[in-house]
Subunit: 501 residues, 2 copies
């Protein structure tokens, strides 16, 4: 084996692409003028060149360098800048976005806990089969699915309910019903990108498993109302359209439409505000519904009051009974002003069976804010015995649009208690000591890790909204003291290290 097999240099002749992050730090970048992994940016994708093999063909002079070594390889040449954006339809959460996300999620979680729900989660990657239903749902065509290295068909979850059902079945008799579970998780849909539509979003779900009566739906809607109130949204901003899938079911029954068409009919009806009504009619007829049935269906769907619905369906059916009970409970829960009957609401998921609801902005500018309903037969589609269940999904996208629209987005800024700084490079370890004393007392500390002028320190303190500046100087330190400055008032004092708090 040759002792110096690297007898070629690895030069690529193109000039280096210079993108300065921050001019302050240009000085530290001189050591290495490029890298071994040049990227060629081609539209939004990034492809690799193997610099090594390329270069080997273009130059074969000079030997192994013996000058100042830099730990990453010494290929001199072009490194094109990587695509700095996250994949299409996805988001980064830099600190300011993350603060908003945390604020939102904390409200989701706090409401869930006030309602006595327990938090759960599932893998973001599931078996594709868990999500593939044959009712023509939009969700199926938007599955982020692929085959893993073990040839399993897997998918990034487009929704959380199927995983919930899977977990409940897995737990079997080991859990006591009713279960009240919530989760806040990321979901993925490969959608065509339109304004405001992304390919991932987070969804808050609350589900009640094991309660057959409408009290469960009433409790779920109550929790959403509590959430709205917490974040400043009122009944004049938002309402809930409510219906029951049993309404459709009763109509279909009159026309002897087979039950296995039910999910498909619902999925078509759900598009009623998105596509022309003629298109809806065409699709329903293609399913095999008669002209008459389609006509009746569309008329019933246009009903906006419980009284009228009762006149049409008669008062004896379950649809009317459930809806009456829900409206009556809403009075007691105190949110009846938020509810309105709207028979056209069916929701787009095949598995709903009873009450369905949808949160909407009263100005009608936005898509549905949240939606849910009863799904008493989902478990049997997975081969288990059914359990009565209901739940809702509440995304993180539309609500933020609404809050922005209403001027209700909170102002959330970074806030540390202290900035701690050594006045002398040799005192940095001492500053660390002071910082850790404060941290052990629960105080957050931004420790200045370099030797910086005081002007820089004050600027940083302003940026981090620090309440106090703790200065570690030589003369104070020798007396076991540090200097503290309250930044809002300018007040200054010395304090013993042990008394710092």
């Amino acid at each position: 084996m040759p002792a110096t097999p690297f007898s070629r240099s690895f030069l690529i002749s193109q000039p280096r692409f210079n993108h300065y992050i921050n001019p302050i730090f240009r000085s530290v970048t001189h050591q290495l003028s490029s890298s071994p992994f040049p990227f060629n940016v081609k539209s939004s994708t990034v492809r690799f060149h193997c610099a090594l093999s390329q270069a080997a063909e273009t130059d074969s002079t000079s030997g192994g360098r013996s000058g100042a070594l830099s730990p990453t390889p010494p290929v001199t040449g072009e490194v094109k800048k990587i695509d700095v954006n996250p994949p299409k339809g996805t988001r980064d959460f830099p600190p300011e976005e993350m603060r908003l996300r945390n604020w939102l999620f904390n409200n989701f979680k706090e409401v869930s806990r006030l309602y006595g729900f327990e938090e759960i989660d599932f893998p973001v990657l599931e078996s594709e089969a868990l999500f593939v239903r044959k009712a023509g749902e939009e969700i199926k065509d938007q599955l982020y699915c692929f085959e893993d290295r073990g040839n399993r068909r897997v998918a990034l979850r487009p929704e959380l309910t199927p995983s919930l059902a899977r977990l409940v079945i897995q737990k079997g008799k080991s859990v006591s019903l009713p279960l009240k579970w919530f989760t806040v998780g990321q979901c993925w849909r490969y959608e065509r990108m339109t304004r405001g539509r992304r390919r991932e979003h987070y969804q808050w779900n609350m589900d009640i498993i094991g309660v057959p009566g409408v009290m469960a739906e009433a409790e779920l809607i109550s929790s959403i109302v509590s959430f709205f109130k917490r974040i400043g949204i009122t009944e004049s901003d938002v309402g809930f359209k409510v219906s029951s899938r049993k309404v459709l079911q009763e109509v279909l029954k009159c026309y002897s439409i087979p039950e296995n068409m039910f999910g498909k009919v619902c999925v078509i009806i759900d598009k009623i505000e998105k596509i022309p009504v003629d298109e809806i009619k065409k699709e329903l007829k293609a399913l095999g519904l008669s002209q008459e049935a389609v006509q009746e269906l569309l008329q019933v769907l246009s009903v906006k009051s419980l009284t009228e619905l009762e006149e049409r369906l008669g008062g004896s059916g379950e649809a009317i009974a459930d809806l009456k009970q829900l409206f009556s409970l809403a009075e007691k829960f105190g949110y009846s002003k938020w509810l309105q009957l709207d028979a056209s609401v069916v929701r787009g998921l095949a598995y709903y069976t009873g009450i369905v609801f949808e949160g909407f902005d009263r100005e009608g500018k936005l898509r549905a804010i949240c939606g849910g309903g009863r799904y008493d037969h989902l478990f049997s589609t997975f081969g288990a015995d059914d359990i009565p269940a209901c739940g809702f999904g509440f995304g993180d996208a539309v609500i933020v649009e609404l809050l922005r629209e209403k001027g209700l987005l909170p102002e959330l800024s970074l806030q540390v208690h202290n900035i701690v700084c050594a006045l002398d490079e040799e005192l940095q370890g001492c500053a660390a000591m002071a910082a850790n004393i404060l941290r052990e007392k629960g105080q957050s500390v931004d420790l200045v890790l370099e030797s910086k002028p005081l002007k820089w320190v004050f600027k940083r303190a302003a940026r981090t909204n620090a309440e106090r500046l703790v200065l570690v100087g030589n003369s104070e330190w020798q007396r076991g003291m540090v200097r503290v400055k309250i930044l809002s008032t300018g007040e200054q004092y010395e304090v013993k290290l042990d008394d710092l708090k």
Copy 2:
């Protein structure tokens, strides 16, 4: 179009697979005896049958049913139970696991905030190119990568640092250095499954961007020590092996090994405790290192004291200077007993350039608990100017094993403040009213949503660790009162609804 095109029944003759979730709820399952989507379970994967097309071939009698309609379709026949496990190598988080995860993550987050770090996040799905480096890292062969519907090569992130670098480059001059950022995010590796190895784990990362000196590494290690202390782990349980990649660099320099071999050498050296030393030698020789260089390298790597290392390398290099400074700062920070020099530590990622460290259990039973180091040249590999940076990753798996081993896992149980129950079905709305009064005052309430005997209510209260039982009975309600029972003492009293708190 025929008015009744559904002239076939959809019967599959196999008997139904019965899996009872909970016998209590058998009664509610009678309506629907099966579903339209039978699953055939085949090992761990789930495949679909189209019941509709199958059935249509086997039977063509009977018409659309007009009996009791159930909202999901009426295919009678076998529905095999879905695979109830999450995909191989992934986890569900039922409530008890979720409480542990939240406890762990809250400790990660609280420590990060005490150190003045800001939380960030990135998509779990990134461009594959972001993670593909050519240094022979294990991580590359374990990428969960696929092509999306737009023919983009994407991957579930195996680590968080490349995304962080991408975001920093994207932010450019709009952010002020240094950045102190942390994140707790899920990462994926398609590993061969061995005991305790999963394909996903959550990782806590803290990174400091823009600080060239060793104070930054010292601060990071300090934050991990703070975390350990919070959760009851001491320096007798855990230590940090510390070295610098500059040690290797200085050795390679003596033997005129080209710099572009550096990453590859590090990746091989990282396997030193996992594969036989002869294998390491073979791989290093295959890279082109001479017998002599390999010998010297392995001897230096066996060094376990700073004094010996200084004797071997001489005292003038950066490696020794950095390490001396780190040990000196560790004294001030107060964690010097946690540190030990171990020249064999290099970490498995190609991009580290300076100080590297690794948290280990002193009993030597577990894999590394956490690891990190300086990566001053990562940014230039993405075509941007370099910024000095360091950080660490801390997984959620090994630490839980260690806590279990040490008997330090916290006892975390569900705890609600109140269970609220109506004594009469007609009073359920009133119970909801009482529940919401308590919730508005910040009290969590498990509202009983069905008519249940008191025995059941007490059992549930015991399971949820409720502190109080609030009973809504007719005679009290008419006086605007409810009955409260303190469950720990048995004390009972009546209280006005408005005075509930």
